[in-house]
Point group: C2
Chain length 175, copies 2
């Protein structure tokens, strides 16, 4: 049972409360769970693949005060987005590096649930770990959940890690 | 990251084609997957908890030629069922023993999906592994799936392992 390490893909996103570069509570929870419950001391037996999907900022809400006068401005905007995403991934990569677990990390743009399933198909991890806010059925209707979609559609086994009660913010939609 | 081993519950059942004591294709698949992809060489880091749920034989179809004349007969029947279940569990326990992974195994009677979720609540494993026949949506309506119920209702993370295409019998409802 040596051979190639088990490749675990983790979908990670930024905190909706604190914003970039902070990882969401559920992403951090899923990451720590994977290290403690799966990887344990067998650091050479696993490789973690971190995928961060950025949702395109269609209405430009975050940049209401910006003026776009040239193609260069848009390019700068895209670079800024990218830099934010890289800062998020840095947290996970640094932690892996510190404990000696091999990893890769990358950013994609699009609808998170669609992109995650697409990347699973492309990268073919042994399984996928997704954090989840653990919303009730009522909240789920409006918020939708990436994890439920991945459980149904990803072409690999999927494990969903819920936040624990004490980690849940007052408004459970926050993370 | 030493300490207590990670406790993985596996729900296992008998083959619908070959019957007891043969394990279903999906149970064996889920078990082998857990050993190869999670446990790997770290045999002391994990403990496997095998739960086999026996469905009560309400219509007595398997025993149409039997005559029940006394309470003793029923007791014998129950003992026979139990023996069959133990033979099934023996397969998993022996394999664990051979490779040096700690384990426990037990039998419960009832509706598998309800009993599995109840046992998760009682035993509190770190996560649950369930095999799955990978039925299409049309077959699912009539067959129902234990795995889908557990993903929704079990009070721990759940990972569903599908049979691979080459392991699927001609009739995918068989296993």
């Amino acid at each position: 049972m040596g051979g190639e390490p088990t490749r675990i893909m983790l979908a990670v996103n930024e905190s909706t409360i604190k914003g970039y570069p902070h990882a969401s509570i559920s992403s951090r929870k899923a990451f720590e769970w994977t290290l403690h419950k799966i990887v344990r001391s067998n650091t050479s037996g696993f490789k973690l693949l971190f995928l961060h999907v950025q949702v395109p900022d269609e209405d430009g809400f975050d940049d209401m005060d910006s003026v776009y006068a040239s193609p260069e401005d848009f390019k700068n905007l895209r670079n800024r987005d990218r830099a934010k995403g890289l800062h998020l991934l840095e947290f996970f990569v640094e932690r892996c590096h510190a404990i000696g677990v091999g990893c890769e990390a990358w950013i994609k743009k699009g609808d998170p649930k669609e992109v995650i399933c697409h990347e699973v198909k492309r990268v073919q991890p042994d399984f996928l770990v997704v954090g989840c806010r653990g919303l009730g059925p009522f909240q789920r209707v409006f918020v939708g959940t990436v994890s439920e979609f991945c459980v149904k559609h990803a072409e690999c086994p999927v494990i969903t890690i819920k936040r624990s009660a004490e980690e849940t913010p007052q408004d459970p939609v926050d993370d």
